[in-house]
Amino acid sequence: MKEPDLTARLGPLTLKNPVLTASGTFGYGLELKDFCPPAALGAVIVKGLSLSPWPGNPGPRMFEVPGGLMNSIGLENMGVEAFVTRALPPLLAAGATVGVNILGRSPEEYGRLAARLAGTEAHFLEVNVSCPNVAKGGAAFGGDPRAVDEISRAVREMGGGKPFLVKLTPLVSDIAAVAAAAEGAGAAAVSLINTLPGLAVDLARRRPRLGGGLGGLSGPAVKPLALRQVWLCAQALKIPVVGLGGIMTAEDALEFILAGAEAVEVGTATLIDPRAPLTILEGLKDWLRREGLPNLGQIRGALRI
């Protein structure tokens, strides 16, 4: 039988398959290459980058909870300059399709990041809006459609036409409204969910489990919420939706596609087994063969509620 066609389209981008790495779980793209060659994936999305290097939060930075992982890495990263000069060239040379996750403290910072990446060969940007807005006392941008609109416009204006995804935070009252703001401002797609904000408590010591205080939950525990938010966005938007949150197996990925996702990202699963994105990709192919389907089009968004 013919190899199933797995290509995925994110606006102007055509990816060879719909399996991407989730930012923060695949380093700068080459660390896990012996387990999971980056060129085999639809794209590699690298750790979130800021204008200058960030040191991140004090430890402990992770804590396991039932079915999930809490982290407060605090967005430690090498800074966009080091990435562009040192990490990006070998990643491109390895044949990867590269998505650069960016984070800023103001719309202006997002614009400057987009401008710095505009002239590079990186294929697209993923704009992480789950960051504290310094001008608004640290409240996340991601809950406010106006802030998402402002950031997206800054990225579009400064990004020299490079396609961008807006990565949404799940803890908002109207996810479709936030996603619509990204769509209206020219995003090629939205990706969701980022980690679910949470708190883990150390009762014996009467303090938070994580050095950063609050943290973000990922892993199987967030999958039902992620599926709901992805489904709502897929219903409301014309642009594609990239789904993630607790995808551990090919079946999990297929559930997101059934709920309307064009592509998926794999995060926490890679921390457990560095081959996870590849295993999930192989699982998608096997499933299509077993079902006798030529591509994912027949099931994409086919979920009726």
Partner: protein, 265 residues
């Protein structure tokens, strides 16, 4: 400089287990990949409990590599270690490693050493002793526990550590009552030697202080919660004194204690 061994994912089988104290277990894991794990100072990550169990694999030091198997020393402190210490022989295990940089790379030219183990910090010391013995170096092991119930079977310890001094904080077990840093300080005063220490952070900070006083190098196994063990998640990143950060899973787990910012960590 020898290159770090490339980590691999291997399957093993629990061959034997033995209880060595109230809460410390020795596990012997048979695996065809055993020889690839002969990397003193390194660790692996392990899973093998009935699923769904704990989400993340758990990191453990390589205690020894012998007879086509890996040996581990595990203290029961929570859900995953409880499950691992209760597994029946024959149980399949998934092993990822060796992880971290081996001592052969960090310290290519080893000297005579004092080894210091606090509690289950004893785990990596057997492979380290094998390496020092093969390098023609002398070593003496200081092993401290809080109380006698945690102390491992002394006959088992004597079988692989020919020169050791045991201490017990509360005087309730074998060896000398008090802190492990006391006989260490005396030994350093008689004959200064560099130190290799594994144990809880207060012990490592104290050892680093002693080493600075006696002008010797303190090599310590750093402690940090880990998710990936492979350098991608930054769970284990610690601040360095001179600025910059140290990824314990990738650049460690052993580091010169003087380079670390113990206050900020």
């Amino acid at each position: 400089m020898t290159a770090s061994p490339a980590p691999l994912i291997a399957f093993g089988r629990l061959r034997a287990g033995r209880r060595l104290s109230a809460d410390t277990f020795w596990l012997d894991v048979e695996t065809p990949a055993a020889e690839s794990f002969r990397a003193p100072g390194c660790f692996l990550k392990l899973r093998g409990w009935p699923e769904p169990g704990p989400l993340l694999d758990r990191p453990f030091s390589l205690h020894r590599v012998q007879a086509g198997g890996l040996q581990l020393l595990i203290r029961r402190v929570g859900p995953a270690t409880r499950l691992l210490c209760g597994l029946a022989p024959g149980r399949p295990l998934k092993i990822t490693g060796p992880l971290g940089r081996p001592l052969t790379e960090i310290i290519p030219d080893p000297a005579d050493f004092y080894l210091v183990a606090g509690g289950v910090g004893l785990a990596p010391m057997a492979l380290v002793l094998d390496w020092l013995r093969e390098s023609g170096r002398r070593s003496r092991l200081f092993y401290g526990e809080r109380s006698g119930r945690h102390q491992v079977d002394p006959a088992w310890l004597a079988a692989w550590a020919d020169d050791f001094t045991a201490t017990v904080d509360d005087g309730s077990g074998y060896g000398r009552p008090g802190l492990v840093t006391e006989p260490l300080a005396e030994a350093l005063a008689r004959e200064p030697r560099p130190i290799l220490a594994c144990g809880p952070p207060p012990l490592l900070a104290a050892v680093t202080g002693l080493a600075e006083r006696f002008g010797v190098a303190p090599w310590v196994w750093l402690e940090a919660g880990m998710a990936c063990g492979l350098g991608v998640c930054l769970s284990c990143s610690l601040p360095l004194k001179e600025g910059g950060r140290f990824k314990v899973c990738r650049e460690g787990p052993v580091a010169d204690g003087r380079t670390l910012d113990w206050e900020a960590a």
